[in-house]
């Protein structure tokens, strides 16, 4: 491919901005938080500009393409479609919220906010990269700041949690890397290097050439390569049983960091499935659809059920996140099936729109819930047990009301954001696999039971004497959160604001995928 670029390299700018902010924050001492907030705000604005500049047909736009290391098939290839751009906006929102929640970082604030911004850069990089090498660099790069953020500022059992998080994800990454090396070697000719470009690989895969190439070079290993790639993403999302790192990491990370882990980083896995696994290994994934669907249903149902057994609020919400992302996996695997006929294609479109919107909605809602956990922990000296509180609605009505909205968003109340995406997912999945859909609705029921139990135990009932003066949200706090709550209502009531951009991308993607 020739070097070409269209206009201003806004995607590169977006990725570099937080890195610059990170360096400044490192040396800004007690002003680090202010630096971080300004940087994150600018990033949010840039990401919103990107959101408004997408091609109307849902294809990849804002492309930046340069030679990088031609002998290795590596190009500097950036670009976003509706999916990528939505993830950029989400990452920017979640990072801003996370920095807002990190009120009281007394221990090395410069480093803390520097790492947060570095993580944001990793997110931006991986959501814009269209070459495996480049993408993988950012995928790994985002791990490092996350690891240190857990390791240095986490709760009492942070050490094992951070290590497990890192090792687990690394193991997934190795599988991913091996698979792609195999693909790279197979696509190369006698004197031409192979390709790592997602767009080229997707074209090779959809024409069926890729399978021939790999089989010619390495034998019938395509299914194994698909499994390797799936493993990498399964850990990240996570898909049960590859999730055991998650409860500990989410619980032990400081809540602002948990917001980043669940709000943005978990989306890297779902994004990877949509951008990389399905386009390149669609046929192989379709062949494994039934076992994958079984795992997705287990993730939905058992995730919700495991949440019901937790005594630690952060673990409750961690498992609840597993459940909510399980719906994404359910829809992705359900739509991975050859679909002749308009009815099946409509269902696929519903499922894919649902997945992409659910990624955004879950990011927004889960980040908000952990934002409240940060607030509650800050006011209670770090307590986070479900039985540590009671009747908080009395001393803190605004806190209870707004967190109640976030919790009801999480359980899929109509009028709030998550309902739309969960409706689309079930609309898509039911005709494609009614058994999976029917079992998975159990997740909706159990999630309601879990979250209402949280409300019952934390906010209702008599107030214990020592919480009688529990401070309510003050102006600065609820005003920082108000835009997010408004966004939840906006997406819930006028989903077209997001789906208007997402649907063309979903249609475009589906037209190019081959199962």
């Amino acid at each position: 491919m020739n070097a070409m670029t269209t206009g201003f390299p806004i995607l590169t700018l977006l990725t570099v901005l937080p890195l610059i902010g990170a360096v400044i924050a490192l040396f800004a001492g007690r002003h680090a938080r202010a630096v971080a907030i300004i940087t994150a705000l600018v990033c949010l604005i840039v990401s919103l500009i990107i959101w408004t500049r997408l091609p109307a047909d849902g294809s990849i736009g804002l492309v930046e393409l340069h030679n990088w290391a031609p002998s290795l098939g590596v190009e500097y290839h950036l670009g976003v479609d509706g999916l990528g751009a939505l993830m950029l906006v989400l990452s920017a929102i979640v990072t801003l919220m996370s920095i807002d929640a990190a009120h009281r970082v007394h221990h090395m604030p410069g480093l803390f906010f520097g790492l947060v911004l570095m993580l944001e850069a990793g997110l931006f990089g991986s959501f814009t990269a269209l070459n495996f090498f480049h993408w993988f660099l950012f995928w790994e790069l985002s791990l490092i700041p996350a690891f240190f953020l857990i390791k240095l500022w986490g709760g009492p059992r942070r050490g094992p949690a951070a290590t497990q998080f890192l090792v687990y994800t690394m193991a997934g990454s190795v599988a991913l890397l091996v698979s792609f090396l195999a693909v790279f070697l197979s696509t190369g000719g006698a004197n031409a290097p192979g390709t790592m470009d997602f767009v080229e690989l997707a074209q090779l895969a959809s024409s069926g050439v890729l399978t021939q190439m790999v089989t010619a070079h390495l034998g019938a290993v395509m299914p194994w390569l698909a499994i390797g790639v799936l493993a990498g993403f399964a850990v990240k999302v996570p898909l049960m049983p590859f999730h055991t790192w998650l409860p500990a990491a989410y619980a032990e990370a400081p809540s602002p960091v948990t917001m980043l882990l669940t709000g943005a980083m978990s989306k890297m896995g779902v994004y990877g499935l949509l951008r990389i696994a399905i386009p390149v290994f669609g046929v192989q994934i379709a062949a494994m659809r039934t076992p994958l669907l079984v795992l997705a249903v287990i993730t939905v149902v058992m995730g919700a059920w495991a949440a019901a057994a937790q005594k630690d609020l952060k673990r409750v919400f961690a498992y609840s996140s597993v459940n909510h992302l399980g719906y994404c996996l359910l829809a992705i695997f359900a739509l991975a099936v050859p679909a002749p006929g308009a009815a099946a294609q409509a269902s696929q479109a519903a499922a894919l729109n649902g997945v992409i919107l659910q990624m955004f909605n879950h990011g927004l809602t889960a980040a908000t819930i952990f934002w409240f956990m940060a607030i509650i922990q800050m006011r209670s000296g770090g307590l986070r047990g479900i039985d540590d509180f009671g009747g908080l609605r009395k001393p803190a009505p605004i806190l209870a009301g707004l967190m109640g909205i976030a919790l009801f968003s999480s359980l899929g109340l109509p009028g709030l954001n998550s309902f739309v995406s969960e409706f689309l997912i079930f609309r898509g999945v039911f005709p494609l696999s009614w058994v999976a859909a029917t079992i998975s609705v159990l997740g909706l029921l159990i999630t309601a039971a879990v979250l209402l139990t949280v409300i019952q135990k934390v906010f209702n009932g008599p107030v214990p004497e020592h919480w009688a003066k529990f401070p309510d949200l003050h102006h600065a706090e609820w005003m920082a959160l108000a835009p997010v709550i408004i966004l939840m209502f906006l997406v819930g009531l006028v989903p077209q604001v997001i789906l208007g951009n997402i649907n063309p991308t979903a249609v475009h993607l589906l037209a190019h995928w081959r199962f």
């Binding site: 890195l19 408004t52 997408l54 109307a56 570095m118 790069l141 490092i144 700041p145 059992r157 050490g159 094992p160 290590t163 497990q164 890192l166 090792v167 049960m240 055991t244 500990a248 058992m302 495991a306 019901a308 057994a309 937790q310 009815a343 409509a346 696929q348 479109a349 519903a350 729109n353 009747g391 009395k394 009801f408 109509p414 009028g415 309902f419 689309l424 079930f426 609309r427 039911f430 859909a437 609705v441 029921l445 309601a448 039971a449 209402l452 139990t453 409300i455 019952q456 209702n460 009932g461 107030v463 006028v494 989903p495 077209q496 604001v497 789906l499 208007g500 951009n501 649907n503 979903a506």
Partner: protein
């Protein structure tokens, strides 16, 4: 960039009132939003805004009703819809919309009118509550969402409003959230109804996938119109059911949850933890009837493909569930002592009648009972509220007595409501609406069992209401402080409701079955020949005798006797075992506790155990093996491997929750690596961006 904005495309054929019909739910919802922003002491503006907005809705509802009525009288168009696309996926649009037809019009008037009366009553009832403004905020949201359910022409919009109604029910049951029992009851209500709702949701997505539309009526291509119904009928769903039937049953599961049908009735008695106006409005007159309304709305779907016996599998299920619920709840009501709980079981029982009426006799039969019940049951609850208020928050009927002297207005209106509920002949609306159901059950040609069940339920109804009235209003006073009559603002709504509890019978007598004609869209001539239908006279006589028998037995056992609160009930003395079972609500809650809830808790622990022990254990084992390998390597490589790198490796390899030791970690080392990585990255980026 929004490409296809949610295009608003009003049907230009629709009349002005149909086009602005959305204001009926929107105004109370908006009012609720405004009240939510008010502060606690702004009591008067909050109540004024809530009442004002609902009055506006009532006014519009009446205009809409008049419009439909005029169209009906001239045999003109009686169904108008306004639809619009909410958003798109693929090439499919997700449509919302509203409908104005006789069914919606009559329900609109009922909901906004009864709602308004209860709003006014609440001004008095909640006068001393510190969260008065919040109460009106929730109440307004409820009214708006309920009116939304009524006018929805899209099953998705209906479901959305339906869930918001469920939310307000949750919020209002748990209004006194500091009472643990109220908080628990609120949760129970939400989860039990959601159990039905997940099936309802599956029904919706199935219907949508199968017919390609969410709209009920859309100029011939809606899901309740010919084409779609024919399509649904030919699709097989397994077990010998058509898709139409299976979807109908899924929707009925949602309706059963909301309307407290067996086996999902358990939440409704507990819902009495909410303030009494809430019980009257939400858990008697309107929300719980939403399930009945839903079935009436999707009746074409339930009815399509009816066999030679005139029924479908779906309708047969509805009939049996309704009849069983009617008797089951009436039996339990006999042995309760809490004035509101008796009424709650009575509501469940009457909802069973409505469901049975729908299934056995059609939309008009069920809806007639829904409308009359809304008035007399709201009246009874408001009366109960007045009694509770007058007796200083006492709810146990054994600790009341002789209130006919202290609370004469409450007594008279309550007696009217009670007679209407019992179905006292001729003068009370309940007689006519219940008779319609019994008549339909009698002429059902699948089985006569529902008829006998419903007739037995009528006997029980008369009996338990007499028992309650005797305990509360007759005998002598057994409380502590003297009771007092309630203020005028509470009495007035009761008087108005009492009037309708009697007068509403006029719209559905066999001589002038106006409601039936209106809902079925044909003319309604007045003629006494309606009574001449064969068997009808006997049936009316029989049902009157049943009512008299119930009243008589009730008076015989409880009459003017006034047993002491500690004294066992008359029936308890004669049949202690049966009494204990009824008193304990036939152990349904205990049964669920031992099965569903126990399984839920047990399986949650299993899920947690699997996580910690099995999956976590496998991870720990793998980590241990890697740790071993790393140590082995370290022994070999210690000479030439960089210290800090090795340490990092060791740290990494000893991962796994159980084995990993908490290491202090040398931060400097990590940071050094991190810094190098960043510099390398920056260099690569700079180098690569050269032209």
């Amino acid at each position: 960039m929004i490409q296809e904005s949610a295009a608003f495309t009003p049907q230009f054929g629709a009349s002005a009132i149909a086009r602005i019909l959305w204001l009926i739910p929107a105004v109370p919802i908006l009012a609720s939003g405004v009240i939510a922003l008010m502060k606690q002491p702004q009591r008067k503006p909050a109540a004024t805004l809530a009442i004002g907005s609902l009055s506006f809705s009532l006014l519009l509802s009446l205009i809409a009703f008049g419009h439909v009525l005029a169209g009906w009288a001239h045999s003109a168009v009686v169904r108008e819809t306004v639809n619009f696309a909410w958003f798109h996926f693929g090439r499919t649009s997700v449509d919302l919309g509203w409908v104005l037809d006789p069914l919606a019009a009559i329900m609109l008037v009922m909901v906004s009118f009864v709602g308004l009366l209860i709003f006014i009553y609440s001004v008095g009832y909640m006068a001393h509550d510190e969260n008065y403004t919040r109460f009106f905020c929730f109440l307004s949201l409820f009214a708006g969402a309920m009116l939304g359910v009524v006018i929805s022409n899209s099953i998705l919009l209906l479901f959305m409003c339906w869930e918001i109604v469920g939310l307000t029910s949750y919020l209002l049951i748990g209004f006194w959230y500091q009472k643990p029992s109220a908080a628990a009851a609120a949760k129970k209500a939400f989860i039990t109804t959601r159990f039905g709702d997940v099936f309802f949701l599956l029904g919706i997505v199935w219907l949508f996938a199968q017919t390609g539309t969410l709209l009920f009526y859309n100029h011939g291509v809606g899901s309740l119109e010919g084409l779609a119904l024919a399509n649904l009928l030919t699709q097989h769903a397994g077990l010998g059911l058509s898709a139409a039937c299976a979807i109908g049953l899924l929707i009925f599961a949602g309706a059963a949850g909301k309307s407290g049908q067996l086996p999902l009735h358990v939440w409704l008695p507990d819902a009495m933890e909410g303030p009494t106006p809430v019980s009257a409005l939400i858990h008697a007159a309107t929300m719980v009837a939403a399930g009945v309304y839903l079935i009436a709305r999707v009746y074409p779907l339930m009815q399509i493909g009816a066999g030679p016996n005139g029924s479908t599998t779906a309708l047969t299920v509805v009939a049996w569930v309704g009849a069983a619920t009617a008797v089951f709840a009436a039996l339990i009501a006999v042995a309760q002592d809490d004035i509101k709980r008796i009424l709650a079981y009575s509501t469940i029982s009457q909802l069973g009648y409505m469901m049975a009426g729908l299934a056995l006799g059609g939309v008009a039969v069920g809806m007639f009972h829904l409308i009359t019940h809304a008035f007399f049951k709201a009246l009874l609850f408001l009366g109960a509220g007045s009694v509770i208020h007058g007796c200083h928050e006492e709810q146990d009927i054994r600790k009341m007595g002789c209130l006919r002297v202290d609370m004469p207005f409450t007594f008279i209106t309550y007696a009217i409501g009670m007679l209407a509920l019992c179905g006292f002949p001729i003068f009370f609306s309940g007689f006519w609406s219940k008779d319609g159901i019994l008549e339909a059950a009698h002429s059902w040609n699948i089985s006569q069992v529902p008829f006998y069940l419903l007739a037995f339920g009528a006997l029980l109804t008369a009996f338990y209401m007499t028992r309650q009235v005797c305990y509360v209003f007759f005998g002598y006073w057994r409380g502590h402080e003297t009771a007092h009559e309630s203020p005028g603002v509470m009495i007035l709504p009761m008087v108005i409701l009492a009037f309708f509890a009697m007068a509403l019978g006029l719209i559905g007598t066999p001589a002038w079955p106006w409601l039936h004609a209106f809902l079925d869209n044909h003319a309604a001539p007045f003629s006494f020949h309606g009574f001449a239908e064969p068997g009808l006279g006997w049936l009316m006589l029989a049902s009157s005798l049943i009512v008299f028998l119930g009243l008589g037995l009730g008076w015989k056992f409880y009459g003017d006797k006034s047993p002491e609160p500690e004294e066992p009930d008359v029936l308890e003395k004669s049949t202690p075992k049966v009494w204990a079972a009824l008193r304990n609500r036939l152990y349904v809650d205990e049964f669920y506790g031992a099965t569903v809830i126990a399984f839920y808790a047990w399986w949650a622990r299993v899920a947690d155990w699997l996580d910690r022990r099995v999956w976590g254990g496998i991870v720990a084992a793998v980590a241990w093996l890697f740790g071993l390998w790393a140590r082995f390597n370290r022994l070999l490589d210690v000479e030439w491997v960089d210290g800090s790198f090795d340490k990092t490796c060791d740290e990494l390899s000893s991962g796994g929750g159980l084995l990993a030791r908490v290491q202090s970690g040398r931060v400097q080392d990590y940071l050094r690596i991190l810094a190098v990585a960043v510099i390398v990255l920056a260099a690569i980026l700079l180098w690569s961006s050269r032209p």
